[in-house]
Subunit: 358 residues, 4 copies
């Protein structure tokens, strides 16, 4: 198979850097274009970027020239790590120009015709693409604090149904981008507020867990309540969760459902798909963000302390890597699913605009 | 008024050091005895202690000789900062020998005849002392994670009643004593488990909020569910709380109840009583442990983000200083209340053992 | 004595906030004006400021209206916490308009006619003011990493002379202002570079320790080499120092010089002057920034581990509070010295512009 | 080639765990025995160990039974991660019983007949083994703070000679083992003292850089002065270094020597040997412990900020991974060198005891 040429929109930002890092050795995708704001355009990547990772900039992109985020760039599709302030319009422009846009931005997530996608959770939602009347299309992944919760809920929803969910988060600094949170605000401290976060965490799961009916998603019927906190952790969002079930089940049965979940990606060979999808810990001290965020190269979601709750039915702790599973890695897995489904291919070969028009 | 002579049991430990620090300039109490384990006995305090505070050891006790924790020491009453492994027996011995024991240890907290006391919350519970058939008595303060929650609940309980409570904590390192948590376990990390903590947080509030009837406490009828986490913060336990009310009330009404609480200590002049008892923040970023734990010299409990909850009725964030309000400061306020109630006085003058026998 | 009316330039910044905090209860000075950039002018202080301290904004200034940094504001003199980008011109304007400007900014520090002042070190340097041909004048305090070093060196310089100094710093986050250092850059990390810092640390001490001769300062003859690092500490700059002496002395003799230093401020009653000026620790684990930065309410400089050096003569560790002794507190002590010397008084009473012109 | 069977002494400790982690996939060595204290003997490894790494315990050793540290265990040679309190005797016993002991402990490091070894620095020192009159032998690697310094000095020593060295360290928490440093001591703090560390850093380099003459090592002639500090960093010891040269050289020439160093391991194919041996950064913000400790899988030493010094000749910053290059990884590279030199082989095949006796 010929590798697909991927462009990265917002390539110099915190999420864009994760795209670069994760795509550097990808077996299906090559980075062919790095796009960013006007300020960066024309510079070489290593000059334009304030590289925050601990690995060096991959050699393959280090000297690449950064271009502006405008349709016409030479690639088969684009990943978008754009800031929400500009993502809306730019992504629409690319979709209109025939590009598949695999986006991490929040702007189009709740649009009726845009899939909000976690491949293991709702792979069939990609059918929403057919309703987008552009030659290209947009697919989104959820907010970084939504992902871990929904991955942990999905097996429980399938087995018993979930009715009400209380979640209190302890979120990592990398979720705020760079420079993001001032060290003076967070060293030895907790900040009990993250703007806009609770709203996303209370609404996105219902779309993700919803049913595709007649080409549209009917949101899952459940109620969520979120309290979001920032803690001095680099990577990995922790969440304490309490939930009520639609059908009674013991904590042991819930663990059984989590461990026995029939992963729709099993056997598909998607390069970024983790095994296991969800890891369940018996040791009550686990999971911990610094120790377990990188499980499955950052794509496995960790669950621990599954036990009964005095107020609702079940309590547990959920951890996921916020910039891998919760951002760039999740978007790459979305692209892999789209390739598998035949929805993403070489632009010259597949001429997606024409195909869809037919 | 002649100052009362206070002994400190467990004076070299983390809580004992807080007693020393807070009593150094106390207007009613003088530190007359520092007692600790056999290992420390005979040494001068500055030699026996691994002083962890940022203030120096107070000059008044620096050279004081540490003695063993045995009845017979020269003081009017004792504060106990003993470790739970040894506190049970030693505290009983002191009570039997005629000492009032103002304890921070958990051993006797749930005994029917021992007050579990927060002066602003249940000052009348000191009447339980009358049921103790020793010449001295034991009074306890609650676990450090219980205190903040109960102080914030009390005005709401009084105004509307509370039915169910979900609480997720982010607890400071000083709550684990010294050396306590290894830096390798917690730097840039969260540990989602604190042994025994959730059980205390789910049971102690019911006794604290209970009614004194016929010389015994009837626990308050409510259900609590706690999830306890350790975070890299020095002092100050944060708690996200969600609760259902017995009588409907808006978030504004709850704020009103918190701000309008009729503090039973108002006007009594207890030196350690803070004003306000509970501070309510409007800024959604507050309270924060590093910025607000020291409000009211560590005795004010802070509440923020009072808002409605999708699952239960009301959500909020609670912060309290775990080693001041949640330990040594709380115990000192307990002693002040007992002095005010005439239950604590000079041993020679009041001969408490005989009085109670009559 | 009538209190002098102090204006604060740059009152909303990190240093400006320290001025506000430290002046709130000052016995000699009242805050009469809060001045800041155009963006803040017209707002009330609590609206304009992103208050980063753990104490609340003092009530006395909370509602005060912020004005622009332009001469004409109603005060007897000004403290400047301005950013170096704008401090140069604004401070000159105020000096030209007759105000005494007590500045923390670096812009005028090395000017021949401007005192670079630490009251315990070179109080006589205030005579440089006489060479300033403006109706007001400018006095500066040194860079935050310079202060601790020079305070620790001064007694050694007086006793034995110092020839060469190697210093390696571990500097706190608050030294970079707010928002300053990104948490993603410094949590669990060290950054071995602080722009411009090493140059200041290698040059300012020579002016501070220099001799006033014929109305000018002859720099002290010594050589300094500095290596500056940022570490994840909130307040308090640590420095490991190695030095060679002009006259041989044992470590014990150096400790003797530090402890026996004849403080020129002794007995003057300056409110912010600490006692001791320099504290020397015997315990090799001390000083530590979190535990000892606040000694003398942040004005005492701490020295520890005084011992011989294999390469030069003497090694030691120095700690000082970078935003108190190293910034706002140092400037306030400078103002107190100027009052004591009769160089700072009420503008209406003293009409400094006229006096100097005469 | 048949893999050699390696035993690990002290396998449950912090260094022992690093041996386990690094040997799990080693191409030349198999872990055949895990040995630890009596307390752990008889347990399975996962039960006996408090595993502190972020990767899980390797499957290959998870269920292995831990045995006591006594000769007779079935392996070709042993790595020792033993605590210095017990390492001296146990290591001697194993050497006497015919085992090669590749030790990280400090006990035998300075013995005349024991190589203190960094393969890239003094590979010829292994000849000291011939003077050990036991059937087995002991080889040691240096203290974790020594390694980075000596690796950075070696190319400079070879090119220009080094006369005097000032070094101030900022050392990571993992260097103190587990539980090691209390979080209450180090969060947001610096501790300017590490017991015994400065002495090791001032003496070990002279043996490492010394010349092998007539079967003994003549220490290198230079003077070192060390100041050691603990900082809140997980892994990676940073050191600011200032040094004088025996032959004058510019900073550029020093960088040239570092980059042009003729690595004696080049081309040997030792699996753990990094490339490059020393990395030199041009960006003044680098190296940083969190970002660069893992270069070369933790075996590359990083150098930055090479520039001239006002007091000595050259200043620079050095970083090395303290538990990989500075402990277990360094010891494994030592073993690889010994295999290459024909000094380490299968016990049955080579019968080292007999060979040496002949």
């Amino acid at each position: 198979m010929q590798k697909l040429r991927a462009g990265i929109l917002g390539a110099t930002g915190a999420v864009g850097q994760q795209f670069v890092r994760l795509l550097a050795d990808h077996p299906w995708f090559d980075i062919s274009v790095l796009a960013a704001s006007e300020r960066s355009a024309g510079k070489r990547y290593f000059e334009a970027v304030n590289w925050i990772g601990s690995d060096p900039i991959p050699d393959s992109v280090r000297e690449m020239e950064v271009v502006s985020c405008e349709p016409g760039i030479g690639c088969d599709f684009v990943f978008s790590g754009l800031d929400a302030k500009v993502a809306g319009g730019i992504e629409s422009d690319f979709a209109a120009a025939g590009y598949a846009v695999i986006s991490n931005a929040r702007n189009h997530r709740m649009r009726q015709d845009v899939p909000l996608l976690i491949p293991e959770v709702n792979p069939e939602h990609t059918a929403l693409i057919d309703a987008q009347n552009t030659s290209g299309y947009i697919v989104t992944n959820p907010n970084c604090s939504t992902v871990g919760l929904v991955c942990a809920l999905k097996p429980i929803v399938d087995a018993f149904g979930v009715d009400r969910v209380q979640v209190s988060t302890m979120q990592a600094l990398s979720g705020a981008g760079y420079p993001g949170v001032s060290s003076l605000d967070i060293l030895g401290n907790v900040v009990p507020f993250i703007g806009g976060e609770e709203d996303k965490l209370e609404t996105e799961p219902l779309k993700l867990l919803g049913a595709l009916e007649n080409g549209a998603v009917t949101p899952y019927r459940a109620t969520l309540s979120a309290q979001c906190n920032r803690v001095p952790v680099l990577d990995g969002h922790m969440e304490t969760v309490s939930l009520s079930l639609k059908r009674t089940a013991s904590p042991e049965a819930v663990v059984g459902a989590l461990r026995g979940f029939k992963n729709p990606l099993a056997g598909l060979g998607l390069p970024t798909a983790p095994d296991p999808f969800v890891a369940v810990f018996d040791d009550p001290r686990f999971p911990q963000p610094r120790r377990h965020s990188n499980l499955g190269r950052g794509m496995t979601v960790s669950v621990g302390r599954v036990r009964s709750c005095n107020v609702l039915d079940i309590r547990m702790v959920v951890l996921s890597h916020n910039t891998v599973r919760g951002a760039a890695g999740g978007a790459i897995l979305n692209a892999e699913l789209l390739v598998h489904q035949g929805r993403l291919s070489s632009r010259t070969a597949a001429a997606p605009a024409t195909e869809k028009a037919s």
